[in-house]
């Protein structure tokens, strides 16, 4: 099989732009997703079942349906409703954020529940009320435990953002598919895309491992 490097070089600038957009979308997704996810996670651990219900539904929906469906719904349904027109980048940020928030809410809940019950009891026995105990004792510790799974979610977002190519958001995979269209070739565009993704996810993983190590020694 002949592998044409020259067409990859032709497309290099577009892959570069796509890479920047992929990174941007993933960063936006992880940041906004964390904020929203914390809020939803806190909502989900409310003891009152009725108050917690909408949050539980949110998490169930976004974790229980394919991201592809979510992206199509957001792109063609939600964004035009608010913006009056579709916009691949806005839809990307929204879909990734909403999806990530569902997972991050669970990460947050797990972080809290992995804490020894004794921490809450010690805090309560010192006279703190539930909210004080959460705020000063539980949440700060849960946060630290959340860092590794949050990092993992970041990696997932980088990969998941490739689905935005379906709604023509010009990230890495979009250019890969354009290249396939232009040259009617398979291996060059998709392997190139695969290696860019691999580079991004591996770099991130290495950074995260170092961060984790540093946190552990602290």
């Amino acid at each position: 099989m002949d592998f044409k490097f020259d067409i990859i070089i032709d497309y290099a600038p577009y892959f570069w732009e796509g890479t920047l957009l992929t990174i941007g979308l993933s960063i936006a997704g992880i940041l906004l997703g964390t904020i929203l996810g914390l809020f939803i996670g806190l909502g989900k651990i409310i003891r009152n079942k009725w108050l917690a219900f909408p949050f539980t539904c949110y998490v169930t929906f976004f974790r229980g349906t394919p991201l592809l469906v979510q992206i199509l719904l957001v792109h063609f349904g939600v964004v035009p409703l608010f913006l009056g027109e579709t916009n691949g980048i806005v839809a990307g940020v929204i879909a990734l954020t909403l999806n990530a928030a569902g997972y991050i809410a669970e990460i947050f809940r797990a972080g809290i529940q992995s804490l020894d019950k004794g921490q809450m009891e010690a805090a309560r026995s010192l006279g703190m009320n539930y909210f004080q105990a959460m705020r000063y004792v539980i949440v700060p510790q849960a946060f630290k435990r959340m860092i590794p799974p949050l990092g993992n979610e970041f990696v997932v977002l980088i990969k998941d953002s490739s689905l935005l190519s379906v709604v023509a958001t010009p990230e890495i995979m979009y250019w890969g598919r354009m290249m396939t269209g232009q040259y009617a070739r398979v291996w060059e565009p998709y392997l190139t895309a695969a290696f860019i993704y691999l580079f991004l996810t591996l770099t991130l993983t290495i950074l995260l491992n170092q961060l984790e190590k540093r946190l552990k020694t602290e």
């Binding site: 921490q119 010690a122 805090a123 004792v137």
Partner: protein, 240 residues
């Protein structure tokens, strides 16, 4: 000081406390012993409402803490508790552990809380560890910090749940020493422990619990040397 009036507690179908009544005087040191699973921890936890009580009442200085109208957080500031597993806050330094509740709950000025903290750390012999994190302390040191942290709320009563049983044998002594000192200063204390030496030396009264009931109670010397009940005898023969 504390009046426990026929309290009952079940977990599901498992009745763990089957009607416990005790009267604890100010400055009294009560030691609770008994086999594993007999309900000692549950009893202690009922006194500061870490468990909801199914039936019966607990009065602390005349206030019924089982009454729904009572402010539990207020009550808990009067009842300090020390756990087997220390439960220090690992993300805060020793001093921050001690100051947290006085500052956030009692709204005491930071400087005052800090001074108080230093005083307490002196008492438990750990001033030099004020800025250390709990993970860098030995078990005995952790437990002494936990005691100082509980004392920082100026409780009227201190509850201890097997404070030395997670410790290496060498470290047991240093913790017991602090507790003895506390007893001497007149703190009202309820202590669940396997340390019979401590019970004998410091305890005013020993309760022997088995199967959710107080089977026997007496002065330590009398109970250890002259147990009345067969279950008490069986238990003591094993642990003494």
């Amino acid at each position: 000081m504390i009046r426990v009036d026929n309290i009952k507690k079940s977990f599901g179908k498992n009745e763990v406390l089957k009607g416990i009544s005790v009267h604890i005087q100010p400055q009294e040191v009560v030691v609770v012993i008994g086999p594993s699973g007999s309900g000692k921890s549950t009893f202690l936890r009922c006194i500061n409402l870490l468990e909801t009580i199914n039936d019966g009442h607990v009065y602390i200085e005349g206030v019924d803490i089982t009454d729904k109208k009572t402010d539990i957080n207020q009550i808990r500031t009067d009842v300090g508790m020390v756990f087997q597993q220390f439960n220090l806050f690992p993300h805060k330094t020793v001093m921050e552990n001690i100051m947290l509740s006085p500052v956030k709950v009692k709204k005491i000025a930071k400087e005052m809380a800090y001074e108080k903290g230093i005083e307490l750390l002196k008492k438990v012999g750990l001033v030099e560890k004020a800025d250390a994190y709990p993970d860098s302390l030995s078990g005995g040191q952790k437990q002494r910090v936990a005691i100082a942290r509980a004392l920082a709320m100026e409780p009227k009563i201190m509850l201890f749940d097997e404070p030395t049983s997670a410790l290496d044998p060498e470290m047991v002594g240093e913790v017991l020493e602090v507790m003895k000192q506390l007893a001497k200063e007149g703190m009202t204390m309820v202590v669940v422990t396997h340390e019979m030496g401590f019970a004998r030396e410091v305890g005013d009264r020993v309760l022997f619990m088995d199967d959710g009931l107080i089977v026997e109670e007496n002065k330590p010397k009398d109970l250890f040397e002259n147990p009345q009940h067969t279950r008490t005898k069986a238990f003591l023969s094993k642990v003494l």
